[in-house]
């Protein structure tokens, strides 16, 4: 329990720093693709995280990002929404006899199809909200929508890549 919490705190700090120091400064495809890998923290929370903790962690994660990007409330609202969607998706995708407490929401435990359904729903909710709040208006809807979807694809790809790298590392141990 203590080890899990410590791991989560480390993941939180590492992902937020990684986002603010490296990923936010990439200029991919002329600014059309901005991957937000930090949301991986919220996707990979254990299955038995209480709903209230999921929501509070989502809000805290967003606020941490907001401190770096000077955008009070922008990431916080997107991550709170994402935490809420996570609760819905967990209920929707639950196996008949509930989640195995030993498993975690990662590809290695839940399979590729389950993971992509779960993760892309969360990432899309987060990115669509974030990009539309950032623009603050709806007048160039198609371009903002495309930016959000392309960035979501990049984020999902990075989530899969991060797992491919870390699971190999655990197997070697």
């Amino acid at each position: 329990m203590i080890a899990t919490i410590l791991n989560q705190v480390l993941a939180f700090v590492a992902l937020v720093l990684m986002q603010a120091m490296v990923l936010d400064h990439l200029d991919l495809a002329n600014g059309w693709v901005v991957p937000y890998l930090y949301v991986f923290f919220l996707i990979a929370l254990p299955f038995n995280t209480p709903p209230w903790a999921t929501l509070l962690l989502g809000f805290a994660l967003g606020m941490a990002m907001d401190f770096f990007t000077s955008t009070p409330g922008m990431h916080a609202s997107a991550c709170t929404l994402m935490a809420f969607v996570r609760l819905l998706m967990l209920r929707l995708l639950a196996p008949r006899d509930g989640y195995d407490p030993l498993k975690r929401p990662i590809v290695a435990h839940m399979g590729m199809a389950w993971y992509i359904t779960f993760a892309s729903a969360l990432i899309l909710a987060h990115h669509l909200w974030l990009f539309f709040v950032e623009v603050y208006r709806f007048d160039n809807f198609p371009s903002t929508f495309l930016r959000a979807v392309m960035s979501a694809a990049a984020t999902l790809l990075l989530c899969l890549l991060a797992q491919a790298l870390t699971t190999r590392a655990t197997r070697l141990q």
């Binding site: 209230w52 929501l55 967003g62 401190f67 990007t69 916080a76 935490a83």
Partner: protein, 275 residues
């Protein structure tokens, strides 16, 4: 009463979600107003330090280019100084007719910045201790960079030219007509020039400079060149695209402009504005 409590208990997660969402929306709406973003921003000390460290690492990659541009800027400055006695008006450009210095330039180091968001901000490694105040203009080696939004003792947060809240008065150098520079293109190298009436002859290649009548930027600072004039027949104004001369993705050292006569001018204008 008990049913009410039971209802709240059953709905506690939805209520928590709504409360957190309301809190972040409150921050979102109020935080974007000037001044209120003080606490949550990258000009605060801890985040500023982190960005300084990041910048120290990232800077090495661009040092050669920065050196070349600094040397070029120095050479241009020297050329200007030595050619002054030959010019018709021998006063240096930052003094007024009485020989009083009207602008002071504070050198600052860019420690963080983005160019690909809808609203971009730049963090400078100097703040109020160096004399930087909100609403001062920021110019780079080749052109406009932005306007200071907030300062802390050691850092300053700048609203970049690349953002839909940025607008400043500019002038077409050849014809002398004023217009408004805004950024709605999404492209970090291109801005729009609006409010230039249809009868003004504008052609690609025309130089755009600052207007100098807003008390933020000195006059005749290079902004960019006109690349495209696209006229909508239903409008009385030109639709002009301007290529920005400053490459904001590479700006490393900038000058913050302190208008030394701003207080005097503002006091005078306030007298007239009073009923």
């Amino acid at each position: 009463m008990r049913d009410l409590f039971r209802f709240f208990f059953r709905q506690r997660n939805n209520l928590l979600f709504l409360a957190l969402m309301a809190l972040s929306m409150y921050l979102l709406i109020n935080g974007n107003m000037h001044q209120r973003a003080q606490a949550i921003s990258s000009s605060n000390a801890v985040i500023g330090q982190l960005y300084s460290v990041r910048n120290e690492v990232a800077e090495y990659a661009g040092l050669r280019e920065v050196n070349r541009r600094l040397a070029a800027a120095l050479a241009a400055e020297r050329n200007l100084r030595y050619s002054l006695p030959l010019r018709a008006d021998s006063a240096p450009p930052d003094t007024d007719s009485t020989g009083l210095q009207t602008y002071r330039f504070i050198t600052a180091h860019v420690i963080n910045g983005t160019v690909h968001k809808e609203r971009n901000y730049i963090t400078l490694g100097s703040g109020s201790l160096a004399g930087i105040r909100p609403d001062m203009g920021v110019i780079g080696m080749d052109g406009l960079v932005g306007i200071v939004r907030e300062v802390s003792p050691h850092f300053a947060l700048v609203t970049s030219v690349l953002g839909n809240e940025f607008r400043t008065s500019v002038r077409l150098k050849r014809t002398g007509h004023f217009g408004l520079l805004t950024w709605d293109t999404g492209d970090p190298a291109t801005a729009s020039l609006t409010d230039v009436a249809n009868h003004v002859p504008v052609s690609p290649g025309d130089t755009v400079v600052t207007g100098g009548n807003d008390g933020i930027f000195p006059p005749d600072i290079m902004v960019g060149t006109v690349t495209n004039v696209d006229d909508d027949p239903s409008s009385n104004f030109h639709g002009i695209k301007v290529h920005l001369s400053e490459d904001l993705s590479r700006a490393a050292y900038v000058h913050v402009v302190s208008d030394l006569l701003k207080a005097e001018r503002d006091t005078l204008q306030a007298k007239v504005a009073q009923p």
